[in-house]
């Protein structure tokens, strides 16, 4: 796992800005995050950078807990940030808190 140490709590988005099955790119202080809302309403936040060659994960095809990088189709687990199959690498995952419709990230 590659969870980033919890830091400041920052508001990132309102729930209605997200759509299930589509990633959303949010920039915080020059750092790009990829937000994903799951069918059960939970939200996952990863660094928007594929461990392979830095592809923007927010643009990938989302299937359940996995996102497929749009550049070379690596399969990344959104829960752990780790690349699947024979691919090797991790993308940082952030701790998320949802209060009502407001989504916060610890960064």
């Amino acid at each position: 796992m590659a969870f980033v140490e919890a830091g400041r709590k920052v508001f990132v988005a309102n729930r209605n800005e997200l759509a299930v099955g589509l990633g959303k790119k949010v920039e915080i202080e020059g750092r790009e995050l990829a937000l994903f809302m799951q069918e059960d309403g939970s939200v996952r936040i990863l660094d928007n950078k594929c461990p392979h060659k830095g592809g923007p994960l927010s643009e990938g095809i989302v299937s359940g807990n996995y996102v497929y990088c749009p550049l070379h189709d690596w399969k990344i687990c959104m829960k752990t940030g780790s690349a699947q199959g024979g691919d090797q690498g991790n993308v940082a995952c952030f701790t998320v808190e949802v209060e009502g419709d407001d989504i916060y990230v610890f960064i």
Binding site: V10, Y68, P70, Q84, G86
Partner: protein
């Protein structure tokens, strides 16, 4: 609940197999920790050759993925070697400083390739062939270098050489002995092998001793003891392996050539075991998986039962090998060399390139070499293992495949105890039993259940045959499933969608029993396409199942920016358009403006959030440079200006492009119209290419200018523009309905044959009319995606809005 702690050093084939065997017997008794020096989960080292030869990808050869470790609660440290073991305190430390205590410790550290200690061996470009990293460096070297030299004409060297040939390198193989694979073959078979491999393009230098590696920083060549030398940009050493025993030695274990173990894989230290290539049993170190897996099984039994006398122990193995180079069948087993006290039975058919030899001692088969035809390998291996007296056995029974009546297959005549999968020691009886008891219906299921064919895959044909024999179905004919989420083929899925009237992606997956509820990046776009094809008027496209290019209607580039290619019908433009493109390029600081191969202008490097504005300002339609759809219709100058032109190629091209733009197709479709056979629009390498001749148009189909360069074939010759349009409609609609998703016209035509297509679109007038009608229906739904997005606030927000958050000082909010 205190579980017994088992620590495994080495995340390779033997070690993990041992854990699998333990878990099979005692799923919950142990707490496992695995350290692996390589940064990968457990993979099939044997199949590195097929990765190098381009038949598999790295992810295909993973034996147990991270999920497996998680499911079995195995703590895994990859890319972290164990550097210290204290057998007294029962502790191990890894390079990164992790410490674990153990109740039982297993060494499975495998071996390192042996690098000849030649002057210059440390130069860049000199590598071994042992792991994924080596494979990757060969693949990379092939991109910029031409000449590869493999030192070592054994099994591994030849597999590496074949891979390098596939990577389009020139390959020289240097071998010190006078024939290839001298550890496995006699000189007759070795010579036949050399001739075959030379035909494949390898060059051999036998009886050569390498003495020096030349070059400054990077290797430039190698020199031999006979004063000759050759050039080389890449040198692969495949001269042997050396057990990896340094850690064991430091830890006080008894080591000869490798870590000394008894019949229960116990080392000289209490509760410390060794399996695999790092272990030496009765003086022998094995370098093939079959014996290592036998060792793993024995060790697992021993650890699970606690006492030695309940398990029979490991008695050593008879080894056999096959060469994994496609088109070449080589098998060797046991003591294959002729000796004074041995006699042999030989079949040598120089016409057929077949050589078979059985070495017999005291009426027992002790070894064999087969070349060209290895069908009898399993039969022979079991003769060697059983030590049966063969004096009474007929020749036909020794070489069942020589009897020539292929009807009762070799597998059918095998006894139940005979081994089918040598690597994993799975017998015919076990496989048949599993098929019957668990109702298995595919080779993949058999692999899962019994491990048969999980390693080198050499026995896959036999396993499939056995499945066919047992279930009475022809499994070999079973084509590829749509993707890893299902066993169903493209055709079966399409048929079910039609029959059951399925209408959503998720519905298809749940009704047809997809293995993963959500599908993957392969099946979702395919299902989305098929659903749209089947119900063009009712189906709402599922944007979430589309690749980003088609979702945001622009091409994603390697840095995450996008490129914009406006439509320019037939490659024709005008000053106003050009001016507009120039203005937009200036306004949005487009870093690169480029004329494409399809006669259009590409604005490269646009950030995603700017796309809708760029489109609005351009006011042009999407050129679909990103989609599985009609891309462009390229045209030549034609009759108005060209002195050779006989027809108006420009108008026809524009007409075609306007009609078919935005059509969803299995893969991209490119077209062209040239006004004479000089073919300036390159009609001969397009999916549909039109060529004007005096008074007529020729229509060519199935061409491809891409990786698989293929020239188009003549479909027909017609007189009028209307006929051209009709024929294109019938052809493309048939392609849309019959090809599998992501199949280009060139591959489709090769698969089904042009004649079968002609039959439908020309000979069957009812079907032709129906195809044309269905095409019109599909086309009726087209809307320009750029205009749609420019007009929809919601789409812009959902797909393109960029969100930037400034964090207030003092932290958060």
């Amino acid at each position: 609940m205190n579980k017994e702690k088992v620590v495994l050093i080495g995340n390779g084939m033997a070690g993990i197999r041992t854990l699998e065997e333990i878990i099979k017997r005692e799923p919950n008794r142990f707490q496992f920790t695995v350290f692996g020096a390589e940064p990968h989960p457990n993979y099939n080292r044997i199949l590195l050759s097929s990765v190098l030869q381009g038949d598999s990808s790295v992810s295909d050869i993973v034996l147990n993925d991270y999920d497996w470790y998680e499911r079995n609660q195995i703590e895994l440290f990859t890319g972290d070697a164990v550097v210290r073991v204290d057998c007294r305190k029962k502790e191990v430390w890894s390079a990164s400083g992790i410490k674990r205590t153990y109740d039982r410790l297993i060494f499975a550290t495998g071996s390192d390739p042996f690098m000849l200690p030649l002057p210059g061996a440390e130069k860049e470009g000199v590598i071994a062939f042992r792991n994924i990293a080596d494979c990757e460096s060969m693949i990379n070297a092939a991109k910029s270098y031409q000449k590869a030299v493999v030192i070592g004409g054994g099994l591994l060297g030849l597999e590496a050489a074949r891979g390098l040939l596939n990577l389009k390198m020139d390959v020289d193989v240097i071998h010190i002995a006078d024939h290839l694979m001298d550890r496995q073959l006699d000189s007759d078979a070795g010579k036949m092998l050399k001739a075959e491999l030379e035909q494949q393009g390898m060059q051999f230098h036998l009886n050569k001793k390498t003495v020096k590696i030349n070059g400054h920083k990077r290797v430039k060549g190698i020199s031999f003891s006979d004063q000759t030398s050759i050039k080389a940009d890449l040198v692969v050493m495949a001269v042997g392996i050396r057990p990896n025993v340094q850690l064991a030695k430091q830890s006080g274990l008894k080591v000869n050539q490798a870590i000394v173990v008894n019949d229960y894989m116990e080392t000289s230290e209490e509760d410390v075991y060794a399996v695999g290539e790092c272990a030496e049993h009765r003086g022998i170190v094995y370098g093939l998986v079959a014996p290592l897996y036998e060792q793993g099984k024995v060790l697992a039994e021993h650890i699970c039962t606690n006492t030695s006398n309940e398990v029979s122990g490991y008695k050593g193995s008879i080894v056999s090998t096959k060469l994994k180079v496609s088109g070449i069948n080589v098998f060797s087993a046991g003591a294959f060399r002729d000796q004074d006290e041995t006699k042999s039975i030989r079949i040598h058919d120089e016409f057929a390139g077949v050589y078979k030899k059985l070495v017999v001692k005291n009426n027992q088969v002790v070894g064999a070499v087969l070349f060209g035809d290895t069908n009898d390998a399993n039969r022979i291996l079991s003769l060697i293992r059983s030590g049966e007296d063969i004096s009474a056995i007929s020749k036909a029974a020794l070489f069942p495949s020589e009897t020539n009546d292929s009807s009762p297959s070799v597998v059918a005549t095998m006894a139940d105890e005979e081994t089918i999968c040598g690597c994993n020691g799975v017998s015919k009886g076990e496989i048949v039993c599993a098929i019957k008891e668990q109702g298995l219906s595919t080779v993949a299921e058999i692999r899962q259940c019994t491990n048969a064919s999980r390693s080198c895959g050499g026995c896959k044909p036999e396993v499939a045959e056995l499945l066919a024999l047992t279930t009475g179905t022809d499994i070999m004919a079973k084509p590829e499933p749509l993707c890893g989420c299902t066993e169903l083929t493209h055709e079966a899925v399409v048929a079910s969608i039609r029959e059951m009237g399925l209408s959503y992606v998720r519905e298809v997956m749940s009704v047809l029993g997809w293995k993963s509820e959500e599908g993957c990046s392969k099946c979702r776009p395919a299902l989305n396409y098929y659903l749209g094809l089947i119900s063009p008027l009712d189906y709402t496209d599922d944007a979430h199942s589309r690749f980003v290019n088609e979702r945001v209607h622009a091409n994603i580039q390697k840095d995450g920016t996008f490129s914009v290619v406006p439509r320019m019908y037939g490659g024709v433009t005008n000053p106003e358009q050009l001016r507009k493109i120039a203005d937009v390029a200036e306004k949005y600081n487009v870093p690169l403006l480029k004329v494409t191969g399809g006669q259009r202008i590409d604005l490269l490097g646009v950030e995603k959030e700017k796309l809708p504005n760029v489109w609005r300002d351009l006011g042009m339609r999407s050129g679909y440079a990103y989609g599985k759809t009609l891309r462009t219709v390229k045209t030549c100058v034609g009759e108005d200006f060209c002195r050779f032109g006989t027809q108006d190629s420009v108008s026809l091209g524009i007409e075609i492009e306007k009609k078919y733009e935005g059509l969803n197709t299995p893969h991209k479709v490119k077209m062209a119209v040239s006004a004479c056979p000089r073919n300036c629009a390159e009609s001969g390498i397009k999916d549909v290419g039109i060529v004007g001749v005096e008074g007529a148009w020729e229509i060519y189909v199935g061409g491809n200018g891409g990786v698989d360069l293929r020239s188009a074939e003549l479909l027909c010759k017609v007189a009028t523009n209307e006929e051209v349009m009709e024929t294109i409609s019938a052809f493309l609609q048939y392609y849309r309905e019959q090809a599998t998703y992501l199949e280009r016209t060139s591959h489709w035509i090769e698969r089904v044959g042009l004649e079968s297509i002609k039959k439908v679109i020309f000979d069957d007038s009812i079907e032709r009319a129906a195809l044309i009608e269905r095409m019109e229906m599909a086309l009726s739904r087209h809307k320009d995606p750029w205009t749609e997005i420019v007009e929809s606030e919601e789409k812009q927000q959902q797909l393109f809005e960029k969100k930037k958050i400034a964090v207030k000082q003092g932290g958060g909010m």
